[in-house]
């Protein structure tokens, strides 16, 4: 085995046997995904609840296919008592109540939730139009076809998955690099390698290779779990661009971790400083909630975090279906972060404790 291979193997074994590291890089992020993703998966856009008072002809005579579409956004419950129905709408238990008197369809709604009652009104309006048209006995002259251009309002799982994955990659990469470097120095492994004829870059490239491998495993696991029907992540066409994105992102995190490790004198200092970077970066970088709604100044400030760029790029290729070229700027920014941090780390680097 070459020295590169055997160093990489040693580091990989050290990682695989480290229960703590496995927990923090794999189990904990997956657990987050389960909880947050699970929460949102249940809470799909809530339907408007509509009461049908007695029998409403336009509803009951609707063709089956039309009814199916109708019920995507409305949940219809039959009720006999008109007063009870109106009081339920008033209380907010239901969003609207429908009744039909001869040719007149009457909709009762509450102003409490305008969005849902609006949905109901719109739907019923369409329904009445369709019934009118059918009653005229003529084929419709104009038809409407709806085609979605893009998913503007992301389903939560579509940004939760890249976000939590980004956080997992950032903490694994940064903690891994910073604490490893300090351990190597304090335990004398750096010294041992410095005394061997192997060029020192071999040591670092081996470590980087192992970290990239771990990151790809994290990514595969994450995307695998999130695409399970329960979570319902739908991968966009160019999702594979996530791979170069992840690699570029991890390089940036490793470089920052190395910089912290080069500077820190003790394990505790390395961990503390890394935590101080990772946590705000995860929150402000859009890992746990989308940053699009934040004020403009905050969005500008968060651009100092590589994770922000990784998350942006990942949402683009995983969820929004953007083309491969659209994330090149993000990849470039991440690689620039990696380069700058590496240059500083090399300058700060010390072989020995003193």
């Amino acid at each position: 085995m070459s020295s590169f291979q055997s160093l990489a193997r040693a580091m990989f074994l050290g990682f695989r046997r480290d229960r703590g590291a496995l927990f923090f890089t794999i189990a904990l992020p997956l657990f987050f995904l389960l909880i947050i993703g699970g929460l949102f998966a249940k809470q799909s856009t809530p339907k408007s609840k509509v009461l049908e008072i007695g029998s409403v002809g336009v509803l009951d005579q609707m063709p089956a296919d039309m009814r199916a579409g109708f019920e995507k956004s409305l949940k219809i419950t039959r009720i006999a008592d008109r007063d009870a129905a109106l009081s339920k709408v008033k209380k907010g238990d239901y969003d609207a109540a429908l009744e039909q008197n001869g040719d007149q369809v009457l909709i009762h709604f509450s102003a409490a939730d305008q969005v849902k009652s609006g949905t109901a009104q719109g739907q019923v309006d369409g329904l009445v139009q369709a019934a009118n048209q059918a009653a005229s006995g003529r084929a419709p002259k104009y038809t409407l076809q709806a085609q979605q251009v893009e998913d503007k309002s992301l389903k939560p799982i579509q940004y939760i998955t890249p976000g939590i994955l980004g956080w997992a990659l950032a903490s694994a990469g940064m903690f891994g690099a910073s604490t490893t470097l300090v351990t190597w120095r304090t335990k004398g492994i750096l010294r041992r390698l410095r005394l061997s004829p192997v060029p020192i870059r071999t040591l670092f490239t081996a470590r980087v290779a192992v970290s990239l491998g771990i990151a790809l495993v994290q990514t595969a696991l994450f995307i695998g779990v999130a695409t399970l029907p329960f979570f319902g992540l739908e991968l966009a066409h160019y999702w594979w661009m996530a791979i170069p994105m992840v690699l570029a992102g991890v390089l940036a995190f490793l470089a920052i971790g190395m910089l912290i490790g080069a500077w820190a004198k003790s394990q505790e200092a390395a961990q503390g400083v890394t935590q101080m970077v990772v946590l705000p970066m995860a929150f402000l970088g859009g890992s746990f909630f989308p940053i699009d709604q934040a004020p403009r100044w905050l969005r500008v400030v968060t651009e100092i975090f590589p994770l922000r760029h990784l998350n942006d790029g990942m949402v683009k290729v995983i969820a929004r279906g953007a083309g491969p070229a659209s994330v090149l700027p993000e990849i470039g920014v991440l690689l620039a972060f990696a380069l700058v941090a590496t240059i500083i780390a090399v300058r700060v680097f010390r072989w020995e404790q003193i």
Partner: protein
């Protein structure tokens, strides 16, 4: 025979502290050389300069005729340095450690495994380093220093914190390595260890070499009294004082001890009187030389 290490007038300061202050020494091929000195005497810094880990502020250093500074990859495979017993990759077994470090020198796996045998760790091959005892970890770190069969080996207090059995066991290992023709440079706090193992020692303090030479010669040069002791009650203190060559006599009710610079007539006279029960003859040791040179006061 030529010299493996030639150091002359090495100097290194840390701030105001002269850690190494004009050290000159030569180590011949195949020699077992000891560097002795109290804590903070400059032993470690001297070694680090020779190993190429630090740059000297002044003086000349050559190892195998070359300068170890700046890092000299041509020199490194010929040198083995034993490091503190913790400098291992985490969570690897003894065998994996050795194979990993061996591979840095292009040593094939089976050859690395043989080194486990040399240091008596075959049955611990699959034990992770974290689970090794102090002595086992110490032996593994020596195995790591030897895995690429270097011609020159540096050992920094290899038997510190070992129990007597483990120490003896390690001594045997070190002697065997030296017998193979490898040059060994050892630092130690244990004077008996230096006396048993080393061909030559240098006593160093405050960054300077105070004296160097074969341990026996240093002891002889000290000119210290020999102490002959026998069981109490065989003869009186007065009688003992009258013996030829006797200088000082003490009796602690267990042993009667006679100090002398000429032991032969004392022992002969004791033999003539049939008073040799429980006889012990103790000459000065390297420890006496060490204390004589570096002083007896306690150092923090």
């Amino acid at each position: 025979m030529s010299n493996t290490i030639v150091a002359s007038h090495l100097r290194k300061r840390y701030g105001d502290v002269r850690a190494v202050d004009g050290v000159s020494l030569t180590v011949e091929d195949g020699e077992f050389f000891g560097i002795l000195g109290p804590n903070g005497a400059g032993k470690t810094t001297t070694l680090e300069i020779i190993e190429g880990l630090r740059q000297a502020d002044g003086g000349e250093i050559s190892v195998f005729g070359r300068s170890p500074w700046p890092r000299n990859p041509a020199l490194l495979p010929r040198i083995g340095v034993q490091l503190q017993a913790s400098s291992f990759f985490e969570r690897l077994t003894a065998r994996e450690q050795l194979r990993t470090f061996g591979s840095l020198y292009g040593v094939p796996g089976h050859k690395a495994d043989r080194m486990l045998e040399t240091v008596g760790l075959t049955d611990k091959a699959d034990t992770r380093v974290e689970k090794l005892s102090g002595g086992q970890a110490q032996r593994l770190s020596i195995a790591c220093a030897l895995v690429h069969e270097p011609e020159l080996v540096f050992l920094d207090e290899p038997t510190a914190a070992l129990d007597p059995q483990a120490r003896r066991n390690l001594w045997d290992v070190l002697r065997a390595i030296n017998t193979e023709g490898r040059t060994i440079v050892l630092t130690t706090h244990y004077m008996d260890e230096a006396e048993t193992l080393c061909d030559r020692v240098a006593v160093i303090d405050q960054g300077r070499i105070l004296r160097s030479g074969p341990p026996a010669a240093l002891v002889r040069d000290l000119g210290a009294a020999t102490r002959v002791s026998v069981a109490s009650g065989l003869l009186s203190v007065e009688d003992a004082r009258a013996l030829p060559g006797a200088e000082e006599v003490t009796d602690d009710q267990v042993s009667l001890t006679i100090s002398t610079h000429d032991a032969s007539p004392v022992v002969r006279a004791l033999a003539e009187r049939g008073a040799l029960d429980g006889v012990q003859i103790k000459g000065a040791t390297l420890e006496d030389v060490f204390l004589d040179l570096t002083g007896r006061e306690y150092r923090v």
